[in-house]
Amino acid sequence: MLRVSKGGRFRPPFFMEKENVSKVINRMGCLAVALVLMMPPVASAEPVEALRVEYQQWQIGRDGVRQQMDYAETLYREENALWIEREIPEAAEREHDQHAHGGLGHKHADVVGAPLWIRRDGQGNLDVKLVDRHEKRLIDIARPYYGNVGFDGHWAESWALADPRALESLKPASTDENGRETYQLERGDHSITLVWDPTGRYAVSIIAQGRQGLSGRTIRATPLAAPDNMPWDDLGDYRDRDYSDLLD
């Protein structure tokens, strides 16, 4: 079953099954699609603990305007824990802080771009927290609100950028000397190239391009050195809150 991701915050990959091709083709304009496969990732060697993931997306509308978006995130990973943090330039953060905290009056809690901390238990249940560093709050995000924090509920695609179970039935077009597998897919009007690292257990790159040259999307992941401490180790003095605290 194919399900379209909702948020634009953590774009899962766009690997797909044949029966969903037509649907995917429709979606490739934004290239925001993901498989709904909530099964645990296939265990193999030690996965890469930290990744820097760069996202790029562009399209040309019938008005001739080309729009492009770029951003990057850092992923910290353990077998059943994931931290996703947007890179925000210091100047943008500073401007944001001044705007958000300098005024009077009614305002919603300010958690734009806040990290997400997602954990999974043995039954596959997810525990999603939004990390509010300004107010030192861990905001519990229940299932109905996943979309509001840009999480589509898909553990595997969020953790590894592609669901390895979706690759099992496919034959790689090539395998390089490091064991990285390249998959080529032609889906309707789009060509997709996905490079999978079975050792590090993540998608090294996913590149999709419309044949008419009107849209494209690229995800590139680069391993980072394993951190001394995971970011969730430093939350001892954070207060527990829930999504309702963000509402008035």
Partner: protein, 468 residues
């Protein structure tokens, strides 16, 4: 000519007398408040209900709230904002006074924050100055309580949330919900004495966390267990839908039901998950059963509080489902009460920025993609992409740099978030709207509710209808 003038005067006086008589006939008042239920939400919910009923032309459907015979348009601005929040929005109805945003049933000069912008509350505890920051504004519930009426407050939000709080509490900052909770506990420290010796008769909603100490999973920093204190004050306490269903309402005078740590679940999730929480209609029915035994009459406030929350999240489907649950509560009330002696008022505290978009074909699913009325084909934007009928002027929304090519099945999913114009980014950040909202009224004394009204006028009209 003279006779004519006298006759005219008689007709005039007779009409005035008739109005007075009509205005004095309401024994009971049920005030329904759809939080954030602006005109577009109401229209969309009407069509959505028509679709669910399988009507050939869903647009022809009428909600229960729309079957009430009198209607008015309400101006909602607050003391300091063109766009109100729920606190002054509802307090205007309950006190007849404007107040500043974030203030609960206080006079217009009350500030929610100090001069530096720091809120007068910390982690749910009030830090409002004891003096020099406005005065309490008497509420309709307090007025009627003092005259012997039964009183009830029902909500799908935390019972300490802004809308229900305006009926029974007074505080300079709405977020001091621990302090608000203490104001409803008869005889306890911080109790609002205007609620009499025995307090509100029926209290049903969410918000357990503000009644329990932090040591028991709550948020109270004073160590008090208000659930126990309420039971000691004579209340029958229930915490699930099945417990509420099991209450002997005929033998219960004081009912206190808190069904969730925070807000009750959205109606869509309550039903789909078969959760053990009562519906708003269940709670309304129970409240009426208890209150209607009071021979002096009663005041009941019922809030569909989560319409607002779903709209803040730009999740139109949940907003419409909660609007229909709210409407079902209204239908339940209409079916249970004697409209000859009961006034039912239905309104909202403010609008949201959801818009009804484009020239969609009649019968098109209101949550679906917009199809042109002439061709039935998908309407396309400048980039050649389809879009939905319902969109929002601002909000967090899907965080995509460019618009997705949406599909019908996707936009009809429970979790689909509508697109937004101005991206505010933060989750739940869609704002209220400053436009007028609707009010409908039926039953005793309802004929005065018409025209364009300032929200504070409703307070007086209700009292007129009740002969106060």
């Amino acid at each position: 000519m003279k006779a004519s003038i006298i006759g005219g005067a008689l007709i005039c006086c007779a009409a005035a007398l008739a109005t007075q008589n009509a205005a004095a006939e309401a024994k009971n008042i049920i005030f329904f408040l759809g939080d954030g239920m602006g005109p577009v939400t109401q229209t969309a919910a009407r069509i959505y209900a028509g679709e669910k009923l399988g009507l050939e032309i869903p647009e022809r459907h009428k909600l229960a709230m729309e079957q009430l015979p009198y209607a008015a348009r309400i101006k909602t601005y607050s003391e300091d904002a063109q766009t109100t929040d729920s606190a002054p929005g509802m307090a205007s109805y309950m006190t007849g006074m404007k107040s500043k945003n974030e203030v609960i049933s206080m006079t217009p000069d009350t500030n929610p924050n100090d001069a530096n912008g720091n809120p007068y509350q910390t982690n749910g505890d009030s830090t409002c100055p004891a003096s020099g920051n406005g005065e309490r504004a008497q509420t309709l519930l307090e007025i009627l309580k003092a005259r012997g009426y039964g009183t009830g407050v029902v909500s799908t939000t935390r019972i300490t949330h802004a809308t229900p709080a305006t009926t029974y509490a007074h505080i300079c900052n709405r977020n001091a919900e621990n302090t608000i909770a203490a104001q409803m506990v008869p005889g306890g420290d911080g109790y609002n004495g205007e609620l009499g010796d025995d307090g509100i008769d029926v209290i049903l909603g969410g918000g357990r966390r503000h009644f329990l100490p932090t040591t028991d999973g709550g948020r109270r920093t004073d160590g008090r267990d208000l659930l126990v204190e309420m039971q000691n004050a004579g209340y029958t306490y229930v915490s699930t839908g099945s417990e509420l269903a099991g209450v002997n309402l005929a033998g219960t005078d004081k009912l206190f039901g808190i069904f969730n740590s925070s807000d009750l679940n959205y109606e869509l999730d309550r039903v789909n998950g078969d959760l053990n929480e009562p519906s708003l209609a269940d709670m309304t029915s129970a409240a009426i059963d208890i209150l209607s035994r009071n021979q002096d009459g009663y005041f009941l406030m019922v809030e569909g509080g989560r319409i607002d929350h779903a709209l803040h999240g730009t999740n139109a489907k949940r907003a419409l489902e909660d609007t229909l649950a709210f409407d079902e509560a209204i239908a339940t009330a209409v079916s249970k009460v004697d409209m000859e002696d009961t006034l039912i008022v239905v309104t909202a505290d403010h609008d949201h920025v959801m818009a009804f978009n484009g020239y969609s074909k009649i019968g098109n699913p209101v949550l679906g993609l917009l199809k042109e009325y002439r061709s039935g084909e998908l309407a396309l934007d400048a980039q050649g992409k389809p879009f939905t009928t319902l969109v929002f002027g601002n909000g967090g929304g899907p965080r995509e740099a460019s618009r997705a090519t949406l599909t019908e099945s996707e936009v009809l999913e429970d979790d689909y978030l509508q697109e937004v114009g101005v991206r505010l980014g933060g989750p739940g950040s869609e704002t209220h709207g400053g436009g007028d909202i609707r009010l409908t009224a039926g039953g005793a004394g309802s004929e005065q509710f018409k025209g364009t009204l300032n929200n504070i006028e409703v307070f007086g009209l209700i009292q007129d209808a009740m002969g106060l």
